[in-house]
């Protein structure tokens, strides 16, 4: 009976579209997963189930390279996304809660600049720039570049969210003797969380996925997953790459599952 009840929050078809969205997102990955078990070399030929490519990931000639690359990628993505999210959160607070000021438009332009400059240009320019100031290329150059271009990806969801929060909550906190810092950390920040998580995740996947800029500013021999994978994929994905991708997926799915059960058990809130 209640199923028929009008629910202002529910739109017919939205669930369907969401499922369609998931299908679109995951269908290519299903292909990747299936073919990672292919005995053959080729994406277009199926020659039976095999685990040889998984073995290849760990023992093959390139295993060391991929291991380091994966490590680098995650270290960079986590540090870059965290730093960018922090910078973006502070900046969003300044922009949305800082009143009117003269450099507001300029600041917004600056924050979205990495988004608007074509990656290749930013890549070449950054490389030339690092060279001209004598900054030696390596992991650090990658990290710095990633932090910079992750900022707008973190900023936009965070500031969009912040604009939806009335300031009366912070005012109430200030009224109750919270310092501005406390009003920020205890009230605004928790209310911001969905925006911050969104921003962090976007920054994280953008960093994890970046090839062009990384390829330019990285030091010789420093690899991230995209640069390590790049060659092997351009001519058609190699099965060992599919095996790596499948494992990456599994790791993330395991993480989600854990977070699901953790949040489920935390029913006190």
């Amino acid at each position: 009976m209640t199923s028929k009840q009008f629910d202002i929050k529910t739109y017919t078809g939205f669930k369907g579209i969401t499922l369609l969205c998931l299908v679109i997102l995951y269908a290519p990955l299903v292909v990747v997963t299936i073919y990672s078990f292919n005995a053959s070399q080729s994406l277009t030929n199926w020659e039976g189930v095999s685990l040889r490519w998984y073995a290849d990931v760990f023992t093959g000639p390139e295993s060391a390279k991929f291991k380091t690359a994966a490590k680098n990628s995650f270290i960079i993505a986590i540090i870059a996304a965290t730093t960018a999210t922090t910078i973006a959160t502070l900046a969003a607070t300044g922009m949305v809660r800082g009143g009117k000021f003269r450099f507001r438009t300029v600041s917004f332009g600056l924050i979205s600049l990495p988004l608007m400059v074509p990656e290749i240009v930013l890549a070449v320019a950054t490389l030339i720039f690092f060279n001209s100031i004598g900054f030696e290329r390596g992991l650090l150059t990658i990290l710095l570049a990633h932090i910079a271009f992750c900022i707008p990806f973190a900023y936009l969801p965070i500031s969009a969210r912040m604009q939806g929060i009335e300031d009366s909550y912070e005012q109430a906190a200030l009224d109750l003797y919270a310092t501005k810092r406390q009003a920020f950390t205890k009230i605004l920040l928790p209310l911001m969380m969905p925006g911050i998580i969104s921003g962090f995740l976007l920054a994280f996947i953008v960093s994890l996925d970046d090839f062009i800029i990384t390829n330019f500013v990285k030091g010789a021999g420093v690899e991230t997953l995209p640069t390590a994978i790049f060659g092997s994929v351009k001519q058609g994905i190699k099965p060992n790459i599919m095996a790596i991708s499948t494992m990456l997926l599994s790791v993330s799915i395991v993480m989600v599952t854990i977070s699901y059960f953790v949040s489920k058990s935390d029913n006190t809130k």
């Binding site: 400059v117 074509p118 500031s159 969210r161 009003a183 090839f211 790459i241 991708s245």
Partner: protein, 309 residues
């Protein structure tokens, strides 16, 4: 532009006015050094003389812009005419990116909304579900996507096996494939900002609209959307702008037959042409165009806000 991003029914406030400089400083410093400085260098490059096979000669020149705007024939000695080549390329990019943005919005908005209306415990799970695919490299995703969409690929096999079509749909190497690819590349950039905005939405407003005889769709259009406009705006920027400069999807799924700006610019730096000033000039023009589009839509929004929705 800032006003545009800040609009959407919610006023900006000055709670952290005193701390503003310190709050913005990290962003200013990071971006000035790591992005603005290189970009200014590129701006300078666009006014320099090209060095054959890449690089620049430090001599002022407008040749790059001249090449962009004036057609002097195949041999460069015809009287100058307006150059349409690059305009065509720009227009194509805008069109493709626009279509991809629209597609992302049509799919991404309901998804974001659906996620935001799940129980508090389930929302993060859904958000992760949307982002997990992006742990896998874009190139891999795009190649797999192409594999799926091929004439003899699983999608066509499936559609034919259920009898929906008789002969395979030709999707690969079409504009639609490019749009799909761009859509697939940037979908979470649409979903997540909208999700973050809807999550904060006061559903009492929807109730009030329904109470005043608005159908659900009217409620969506007239009340919900304006209230979460900053999120939608953010999502559209995050999909549209990178799509404009993208070249992976156009190359792989579109067959690289026609330049998009991304590929055109890439070609200037990495290809045979090796014309850095021209690549820099094209980038600067792209940059200013994106700025103009953003400013224009911000102006429209501000106007709409003033008029009261």
């Amino acid at each position: 532009m800032a006003a545009g991003a800040a609009s959407g029914g919610s006023a900006t406030t000055d709670t952290y006015k005193e701390a503003r400089t310190w709050l913005l400083l990290p962003a200013w410093v990071t971006l000035s050094i790591l992005v603005l400085a290189p970009v200014i260098m590129m701006l300078i490059y666009s006014f320099l003389t090209k060095e054959f096979r890449g690089g620049v000669i430090w001599e002022f020149s407008l040749a790059a812009y001249d090449q962009f705007f004036f057609d002097r024939g195949l041999f460069g000695d015809d009287p100058p005419k307006i150059e349409w080549t690059y305009v065509t390329i720009f227009w194509r990019s805008i069109w493709q990116a626009g279509a991809a943005t629209l597609l992302s919005l049509v799919i991404g908005f309901p998804t974001a909304y659906f996620i935001a209306t799940r129980s508090e415990n389930m929302r993060p799970v859904w958000v992760f579900l949307i982002t997990i695919p992006y742990w896998v490299n874009l190139l891999i995703r795009t190649v797999s996507m192409k594999f799926l969409l091929r004439d003899q690929g699983p999608l066509n096999d499936f559609l034919m096996s259920i009898g929906l079509i008789d002969s395979p749909l030709h999707i690969v190497n079409t504009n639609f494939a490019v749009q799909l690819g761009l859509f697939y590349s940037y979908l979470p950039f649409m979903v997540l900002p909208i999700y973050a905005a809807v999550e904060r939405y006061n559903f009492a407003l929807s109730e009030a609209a329904a109470d005043l005889y608005a159908s659900k769709w009217t409620t969506l259009r007239r009340v919900l959307l304006p209230a979460i406009k900053p999120g939608v705006f953010a999502g559209c920027i995050l999909v549209f702008v990178p799509s404009m400069g993208s070249f992976l999807a156009p190359d792989l799924l579109g067959g690289a037959k026609n330049f998009m700006i991304g590929s055109l610019i890439e070609e200037q730096f990495k290809g045979n042409a090796g014309n850095w000033p021209f690549g820099a000039a094209a980038s600067m023009i792209l940059l200013s165009m994106v700025l103009i589009i953003l400013m224009f839509s911000a102006r429209q929004q501000a106007k709409a806000d003033k008029a009261g929705g």
